[in-house]
Symmetry: C2
Subunit: 118 residues, 2 copies
């Protein structure tokens, strides 16, 4: 893990919802996929992950059920709801806005002067 989590903070819910858009999944698997997707540059801490599941379920964005594996550790599967899909779309939109604003705001004033040709 190489990235500061304060920069990802606020995106945890969006990331989880994204992983549930195609099919139901469970915590451990989602986290492994996050690690693979980012070449091990990022992972969710377990406490963060399971806290987020509770939060999302409380908000009605996901619901859960126990898997029926007859071998290995038990898994709790999560399914995204219609409200969850709606929230996901909204959160993605907000990310695009935030990205745009942050890009503006963290730009050095020196650079900006250069760009204005002054």
């Amino acid at each position: 893990m190489s990235i500061a989590s304060d920069l990802i903070r606020g995106h945890t819910d969006t990331i989880i919802l994204a992983h549930l858009t195609r099919e139901d999944s469970y915590g451990y698997k989602i986290n492994k996929e996050i690690q693979m997707d980012t070449d091990n540059q990022y992972e969710l801490k377990e406490a963060t992950l399971y806290t987020a599941f509770r939060r999302l379920e409380g908000a009605g964005y996901i619901c859960s059920y126990w898997g029926d594996e007859n071998t290995g550790a038990r898994r709790r599967y999560y399914s995204i709801t219609a409200e969850g899909r709606q929230a996901y779309r909204q959160l993605k939109k907000e990310w695009e806005e935030a990205k745009y604003l942050i890009d503006i705001l963290i730009k050095s004033k020196e650079e900006r002067e250069d760009q204005n040709g002054r």
Copy 2:
């Protein structure tokens, strides 16, 4: 203000440092500039702003002095240090990394399947 502050969280320090790269400035002015730069879509809450100044000063990234205005309210000016400039460059780099990773992570798995042509 239209943007969720959890999405900006972690960037407050970078934003402030960016505003000090060209010239010394003070809290009220920096915040006004942020509002102007973002067409009033974002502003730092005063408590957040002044907390950040304390934090940055404690870290040695900025130092402060009182202005010598002989009219109007007094101003505390902040100046970025060499360490502050170094930190600013680092934080910008981390933002580029975070931006890249978040874009990957919040992408819908449905979309990704489409992109893979499967």
